[in-house]
């Protein structure tokens, strides 16, 4: 269409121009508290228009509640830090425009329900990082004789869908297998990591077989394909259809037809480094020794 004439520029401003006069103020009902408990508190600020939920949270932080805890980084839907529940729906705060919400009533913003609370809107997402450490990493076959790796764009596309993941963990948060059954966590990777596993399994250059792990330790069988994860994914990744269902099929193949799998992998001559891979699954320690500056200075090697 158009070169930028007056008309097309007017259309840039469309949402403001045609909407009915917006209310002068907006109220966010924010959850304040920590693991010991808390409460919802209302904060009313001027309605500036053109804002996303995260902007309003930031203004509240700057003007009324400087200690309000919230995670964010990119403010562009690219880093997956600002996940929260807006009027009960799991969203990225930076990609939820105020104009899409009914601001005649307070807008409720609460931390993700599936995770332990740290403070206010910040939750403990360490479970996800622990799962990440259990996944055997990518392992390529040999290069082509000319030193390159070749792949077709169509094969790349399939993998790239999953690599779009911004690790917002909204899908992990809505999956009932984790949300309603805390005790499943040790045996269940969750939708984000099924997408990661699908990516590895479908990667045209990868030669490792992770199917046993996927069906046993990572618990793909616990997923009953409710598709709640796919519905909330801000990147539009078809987690259930494109990752989980194909993985379930492959796992079944592995059980009944090992020869077919061997046929698929054997051409690629995996390079033999599994020892290193296995050694790396130990979770990283976070807490070190606590010492006091009163104690004598320690020399360490």
């Amino acid at each position: 269409m158009a070169t930028p004439t007056r008309e097309s520029t007017a259309s840039t401003a469309r949402p403001e121009a045609t909407a009915p006069t917006p209310p002068a103020t907006v109220t966010l009902r924010l959850w304040r508290g920590d693991e010991a408990g808390g409460e919802f508190r209302d904060y009313t600020v001027e309605n500036l228009g053109g804002e996303v939920v995260l902007d309003v949270v930031h203004r509240i932080q700057a003007e009324q509640a400087p200690d309000l805890a919230v995670r964010w980084n990119c403010k562009a839907g690219k880093c997956g830090s600002c996940s929260a529940e807006v009027n009960g729906r799991p969203r990225l705060m930076c990609m939820t425009r105020m104009s899409t919400l009914d601001v005649s009533e307070p807008v409720t913003v609460s931390p993700l329900r599936g995770n332990p609370i740290v403070r206010d809107l910040v939750t403990d997402v360490s479970y996800n990082y622990a799962v990440a450490r259990r996944i055997p990493p990518f392992q390529p076959g040999p290069r082509e004789p000319d030193g390159t790796y070749r792949m077709k764009q169509v094969d790349a596309d399939r993998v790239q869908e999953f690599r779009k993941c911004i690790e917002c963990f909204l899908c992990q948060n809505v999956c009932h297998v984790i949300r309603d059954h805390e005790d499943n966590k040790p045996n269940f990777a969750g939708p984000r990591y099924f997408a990661r596993l699908a990516e590895l399994e479908m990667h045209p250059l990868d030669v490792l077989d992770r199917r046993e792990l996927i069906s046993s330790d990572l618990g793909i069988g616990l997923c009953n394909i409710t598709k709640c994860c796919t519905e909330v994914c801000p990147e539009g990744i078809h987690i259930t259809d494109n990752a989980i269902i194909p993985l379930k099929e492959r796992v079944v193949d592995a059980r009944y037809d090992p020869i077919a799998w061997l046929g698929r992998k054997i051409r690629r001559r995996p390079d033999p480094t599994p020892a290193k891979v296995a050694a790396s699954f130990a979770p990283a320690a976070k807490t070190g020794e606590v010492i006091s500056t009163d104690a004598p200075t320690r020399a360490e090697d």
Binding site: G50, K78, C79, Y149, A156, A285, E289, V290, D301
Partner: protein, 598 residues
């Protein structure tokens, strides 16, 4: 006195963006016990925002391309202020670093014969940027993250480092910080420390940078006595969103222009044709017809001026807006809708499509975007030795945006991701080698006590000023007085205001307690931003010329003499001082590359 949690490593890396992760991978592979410490969660670093690609002369699309051409483009783009050796290493090693990413699982877009596809970008003579749609930074970050996790490297997330620790000789032997979550003190003993903390954008008002970009590494180095160079050279990316207000500053990838997007003013004119400087006249199309043919035939036609280096484009946009030919929200138009099919746009620029749709309710396949300059990157930074990434303080290394020299006075698009990989690797390796040759470290409790007391002081001042207000005033000062076009009187005014802001920052108070308290975190970050602001302002006063990302209206031309010096800023007796020091001299055989080019 202070209680603290203590850790001991060979190498501690501060920052977990592309450079930090790449450094960690290399340090660990070299055999050092390595820790990665970052202010956010792992995988959220600002590297995710890099869209266009990673520059490397792979020659997949243009076999004519090679490191010499890339080196020349980089130096010319940097207005020859670059550290030539860094630019050379970067051009030489980036292809290998990209192929290595593929070996770790990265999936780049492909050529028809299945190799890595490369795209055009401003200032690069050939299509050179390996990319994944317009989310290359995420791909690079995730690949390195997964590699680091696979290697079992220890990661300490949501930890803000406030000071480096030093032994009696001044050598760095650790770092001190606070857990953001609990507010508790943590000390890392380290035989070598790598700074990989990224940029400084939050010091200005309109920026594409995230909250993390507060110049922490720059400040840590400065306080430890390291030299900084050319801190006045900051890059305003020509295309940031200008509307809606909340998205102001957010980056619009240069890939839009590489893929055919053009800039127009309110009259619909492709004004970039009016701003082709002599320096680039030979290689730039001077008619619309020629420019348009270039997309299909790069051999016989010259590139359109929309793809000039970023500083040139940003200044031109600024002039159009000042002349009253801007768009309704104070930018100009970036139009790809009238030039490419909706399918092509959605496939090539999916995140841009998404970003405008979600945030501005603009369909970029139907309407032009409104864009304007936004603070994007700092070329200046901690002075390092090219081959080892060593700073001027023993035991301290720096890589990525926090390091200076590689990009001279202006950075080409795509050269940042490659910089992270090339120098992240080099820093990790030299830090590990240094550490392995060094015996144990001793944490000095007196230093811990002093830093801890200073950092916690804002809690004692309940009636102190709100750090958010001081931050806003700092941003306003830098935006209006040390912005895209500068002059002596405004810079001197800025210098004075910074003195007042120092005073106010030392008296801020915070409410609440130490657990995940953003007000307190900002109070700590303010110190870093002020350190950066001083260096940039002093460098800008002293560089009485216009070069790359530094434009002086009172000295509008480059001065050949100043083109031979770095503006070095350092702490002396508690204050930042600036001196001129000569650039390292390029060897003759490389100089000939620039003669041939004419």
């Amino acid at each position: 006195m202070a209680e603290y949690e203590s850790h001991d490593f060979d190498v501690v890396i501060i920052g977990a963006g592309g450079a930090g992760l790449r450094a960690a991978i290399e340090a660990s592979a070299t055999g050092a016990r390595t820790a990665l410490v970052c202010k956010s969660l792992l995988g959220k670093a600002h590297t995710v925002m890099a869209e266009g690609g990673v520059a490397a002369a792979l020659g997949n699309v243009w076999p004519e391309d090679n490191w010499k051409v890339h080196f020349r483009d980089t130096m010319r783009g940097g207005k020859m202020l670059n550290n030539w050796r860094m630019a050379q290493l970067h051009a030489l090693e980036s292809p290998e670093r990209v192929l290595e990413l593929e070996e770790w699982g990265a999936v780049f877009d492909r050529t028809p014969d299945g190799r890595i596809l490369q795209r055009d970008f401003g200032g690069h003579r050939y299509a050179r940027l390996a990319h994944v749609g317009d989310r290359t930074g995420l791909e690079l970050l995730r690949t390195c993250q997964q590699r680091a996790v696979g290697l079992g490297i220890e990661v300490f997330m949501e930890c803000k480092i406030v000071r480096l620790l030093q032994d009696d000789s001044g050598a760095v032997n650790g770092a001190l910080g606070f857990w953001r979550e609990s507010g508790k003190l943590v000390a890392f003993g380290a035989k070598a420390v790598v700074l990989a903390s990224g940029g400084v954008g939050k010091t200005w008002k309109f920026t594409s940078n995230s909250w993390e970009s507060t110049g922490d590494g720059h400040a840590l180095a400065l306080w430890a006595g390291a030299d900084m160079i050319d801190m006045e050279c900051v890059q305003f990316h020509p295309t940031g969103m200008v509307w809606p207000p909340s998205a102001r500053g957010l980056l619009v990838t240069e890939g839009v222009r590489g893929d055919g997007g053009v800039l127009r003013n309110s009259e619909g004119r492709r004004f970039m044709f009016d701003y082709i400087s002599d320096f680039f006249a030979k290689e730039t199309a001077d008619t619309i017809e020629e420019g348009d043919q270039w997309y299909e035939n790069k051999k016989d036609f010259r590139r359109p001026p929309e793809l000039l280096p970023r500083d040139e484009v940003a200044r031109s946009i600024n002039s159009e807006i000042k002349a009253g030919r801007g768009s309704p929200h104070g930018g100009v138009f970036l139009d790809i809708a009238s030039r490419r099919s909706p399918e092509y746009i959605r496939r090539r620029l999916p995140s841009m499509y998404h970003q405008f749709k979600e945030l501005a309710d603009v369909d970029i396949t139907k309407e032009p975007m409104e864009i304007g300059p936004t603070l994007h990157y700092i070329m200046g930074g901690v002075r390092v030795e090219a081959d080892t990434a060593a700073t001027t303080v023993p035991g301290l290394y720096a890589a990525g945006e926090v390091a200076g020299g590689m990009h001279g006075a202006n950075r080409l698009g795509g050269n940042s991701l490659s910089d992270l990989l090339v120098f992240g690797r080099r820093a990790g390796q030299s830090a590990a080698e240094h550490a392995l040759g060094r015996s144990g470290t001793v944490i000095d409790n007196a230093q811990v006590d002093a830093v801890s007391a200073q950092s916690l002081a804002p809690f004692e001042r309940d009636s102190g000023e709100n750090p958010y207000t001081v931050h806003q005033d700092l941003q306003d000062t830098m935006q209006s007085l040390v912005g895209i076009i500068r002059n002596e009187s405004e810079l001197l005014e800025a210098k004075e205001k910074l003195g007042e802001l120092d005073e106010r920052a030392s008296k801020v108070g915070v409410e609440g307690h130490r657990q995940f308290n953003p007000g307190w975190h900002l109070a700590l970050d303010l110190e870093s931003m002020l350190a950066v602001a001083h260096c940039t302002t002093l460098g800008a006063i002293e560089r009485r010329e216009s070069r790359g990302g530094h434009t002086r209206e009172d000295y509008p031309e480059p001065d050949p003499e100043l083109g031979k010096v770095n503006m070095v800023t350092r702490m002396r007796d508690g204050a930042v001082v600036v001196v001129r020091e000569p650039l390292p001299e390029m060897p003759d055989e490389l100089k000939t590359l620039f003669e041939e080019a004419h």
